[in-house]
């Protein structure tokens, strides 16, 4: 530190004000605005003080009652609505966090400015100061509206869901008729210990993972195969071929899934009546057998999912220099060796992170499960259908069984799994982060 001060002293020998103490400014700032006044920024200090005072006076009661409500969740059934208490509690937490952040910034600001004054900086005229403040505040003004909306529409529901997972909100214990209670980790414990919940949870979880892995990997494999085929230079009309192969991506998914669900219908679906029956003399129970439903759903997802990856791969393949292959030909490499050593690494390197998002997408691919046969067929001894994945099970628990707390608990587990994926995403964006590459 002494070297620093020496250097600064050297640079600003005239204006330096060694008596001006950043520490004092920080301490004074514990009452917002005072530090700024100490820095001789009277107007700024007064504005900060008034804003903080107004916020404190207005919000203190709301925050206090909100936090208290979050603890009790209400006391009188039919009068106190636990849901409202939860929402107000979460809002109170958000406001408190805001308050804390601004408080911290206020202290930091006083400290930084005091340090600059000590080193010889002088505040300009009121107009200049005002313009500086506007320059600093401008990006926040831009982000403000979007950020606010994000907080209320995305963050608030996510927090609400997280809190819900620790209450006992279900069909028989629903506000405003009843008061909710905090039950700690009960829902999670029940999920893995109580017979029916346990079998359902683990069978749904294992199918979700299998589904994610098989459906996505198959789409990627098919996409890769077709991309390599259509990259062949001897082929004519590649433009039309490419366009047709991308077509399934362009048609709205919900339309095609409903069409497929009619095509696969056990009794009158065209796949049974026109293809399977004439060929094999029997029909396949696509909708009513768990195994066949799963096979059908995976096939449909491959149909829906390969074009996007195919388009990505095609783009990458076009960019691989011919030199690689010519050199390989010189060495007498086989087609397979060229694929393993040149094509495959190129594709993976260029698209790896995006392929990862394909897995996350299928992990939460509610549309296909629900629109094909609503997660059916029913399975004996468990409360989810044979093709239900976690997210469609959550849907059923919410809208059919009104098991809100349990649904929230499962959503939270879902969120944890997605967060693990997100972690890998983070690492890739860190790796080529360096501004602008997000």
């Amino acid at each position: 530190m002494p070297t620093d001060e020496n250097k600064n002293k050297f640079e600003h020998p005239v204006n330096a004000n060694l008596d001006h103490s950043p520490k004092k400014a920080m301490l004074l700032s514990l009452i917002p605005g005072m530090g700024q006044i100490y820095n001789k920024r009277l107007i700024k200090g007064i504005i900060i003080f008034v804003l903080f005072a107004a916020f404190t006076v207005m919000m203190v009661e709301f925050i206090a009652s909100g936090l208290q409500g979050l603890i009790t969740l209400g006391t009188e059934p039919r009068i106190d609505d636990s849901r409202v208490f939860l929402i107000e509690g979460i809002l109170a937490i958000i406001f408190t966090v805001f308050y804390g952040v601004f408080y911290y910034f206020n202290i930091q600001d006083a400290k930084i400015e005091a340090r600059r004054i000590r080193d010889g900086w002088r505040a300009g005229t009121v107009m200049e100061n005002f313009r500086n403040a506007w320059d600093t505040a401008f990006p926040y003004v831009l982000i403000g509206p979007g950020f606010m909306l994000l907080i209320f529409v995305v963050i608030l529901p996510l927090l609400f869901m997280a809190f819900l997972a620790f209450t006992n909100y279900n069909l028989y214990n629903a506000p405003p008729r009843n008061i909710l209670q905090w039950v700690g980790f009960d829902n999670f414990v029940r999920l893995v210990t109580i017979g029916e919940w346990r079998t359902t949870f683990f069978s749904v979880l294992s199918w979700t993972l299998t589904w994610t892995f098989v459906a996505t990997t198959l789409s990627i494999a098919l996409a890769m195969f077709l991309a390599i085929l259509t990259n062949d230079k001897r082929l004519k009309g590649t433009r039309i071929i490419r366009t047709v192969l991308i077509l399934p991506w362009a048609v709205p998914g919900f339309v095609t899934i409903i069409i497929f669900s009619a095509l696969f219908n056990d009794n009158f679906g065209a796949i049974n009546t026109d293809i399977i029956m004439p060929l094999f003399g029997t029909s396949i129970p696509w909708m009513s057998s768990v195994m066949w439903s799963r096979i059908a759903i995976i096939m449909i997802q491959v149909w829906l999912g390969f074009p996007y990856v195919y388009a990505l791969f095609s783009g990458v393949l076009k960019g691989i220099s011919d030199d690689w292959y010519e050199a390989a030909d010189m060495d007498g490499a086989t087609k397979w060796q060229k694929f393993i050593n040149i094509t495959f690494p190129h594709l993976m390197f260029a698209t790896g992170p995006i392929l990862l998002t394909q897995y996350t997408f299928n992990f939460n691919n509610f549309n296909i499960i629900y629109l094909f046969n609503e997660g059916g067929p029913a399975v004996r001894g468990q409360s989810a259908g044979g093709t239900d994945i976690l997210i469609s099970w959550v849907y059923n628990l919410t809208f059919t069984n009104s098991q809100y707390s349990m649904a929230a608990a499962i959503s939270l587990i879902l969120g944890l799994i997605v967060a693990t994926f997100a972690f890998f995403q983070f690492r890739r964006s860190r790796s080529f982060k360096d501004e602008g590459n997000f």
Binding site: D81, V153, M161, L226, F254, T256, V418, F426, G436
Partner: protein, 292 residues
């Protein structure tokens, strides 16, 4: 076929012949893919042109095709198709305008300003983008129910806008990052204010990406089924996707041809837009994230 392979293995073909067989095989595989891709689409189209509204008796031959189902959708007093169309248009328009505006603001700030908390903000956006709004559906349902926005188009609009902000911001920010900074710096030298630089210099340059974002947000409500399903309850509030689903859901085989007709009318414009803009959409999405 098997003889062919045998001969190929024994290298009884010249190089030229082998190449021809290879190309032929590739064309064969592509032809099979074409059939697999077109079959369901053509089937749906044929059903939509069928006079019989029943799947049992529907025939695929073009002999007795008619536009009855399409006419029914637009003229029959029992058809809500136009109403759903209006609802969807309303939702789409509001979402498009508000999202494009908000997103260009946030993207501009993240791209051009270095401010305290910027990195945290970017990380927060990146993280939120990973969690689909759908994951919080329990909470959304209860929240909207509590504040009385369930079965209300405004509730749907709010969720669409909020949920789209992180991803769209990244798309636009990525594009703005590619525009040279010297442009706005020289404008700043000339004394242009923040808003002026934004509206007169960056916004016109960012038109391509903003159009894509606008188009994307405009089309999303036409294709989305789940959120309307969670939020909307009464048929007069339905959006197109939800309404069409109810055609098949209510009495499966009976209304399928009407569903097909309505679906064709949505699918053709949307698919055309996607195919025309495919390059843009695929590379843009790849640099931002994937469509949820």
């Amino acid at each position: 076929m098997s003889k062919l392979f045998e001969r190929m293995q024994k290298k009884q073909f010249t190089r030229k012949q082998r190449s021809k067989i290879e190309v032929g095989l590739i064309y064969l595989i592509i032809a099979i893919m074409f059939v697999i891709i077109f079959y369901p689409l053509f089937w749906a189209f044929a059903i939509s042109m069928n006079t019989s509204s029943n799947l049992y008796t529907a025939s695929l031959s073009p002999e007795n095709w008619s536009l009855d189902n399409y006419i029914w959708l637009f003229t029959n007093p029992r058809s809500d198709y136009l109403l759903w169309y209006r609802n969807t248009l309303f939702v789409s328009s509001v979402v498009t305008v508000v999202t494009t505006l908000l997103v260009s603001f946030t993207a501009y700030a993240f791209s051009r300003y270095r401010f305290r908390g910027r990195t945290y903000g970017l990380y927060a956006f990146l993280l939120l983008q990973m969690f689909p709004v759908l994951m919080a559906m329990v909470a959304l349902f209860i929240l909207l129910n509590t504040i009385g926005l369930l079965d209300n188009l405004w509730g749907l609009i709010l969720i669409y806008i909020g949920g789209g902000i992180p991803m769209n911001s990244f798309l636009v920010k990525g594009y703005l990052d590619t525009l040279p900074k010297s442009l706005d710096e020289s404008a700043k030298m000339d004394g242009a204010g923040h808003f002026r630089i934004f509206f007169q210099i960056l916004l016109p340059l960012a038109k391509p990406i903003l159009s894509v974002v606008a188009l994307f947000n405009f089309m999303a409500p036409f294709m989305d089924f789940i959120l309307p399903r969670i939020v909307l309850r009464s048929p007069e509030n339905f959006t197109l996707a939800l309404g069409l689903y109810n055609f098949v859901n209510a009495q499966f085989s009976n209304n399928f041809s009407r569903f097909a007709a309505g679906a064709v009318l949505i699918a053709i414009p949307i698919a055309s837009v996607y195919l025309v803009l495919q390059k843009y959409l695929i590379s843009g999405l790849a640099s931002g994230a994937t469509k949820g």
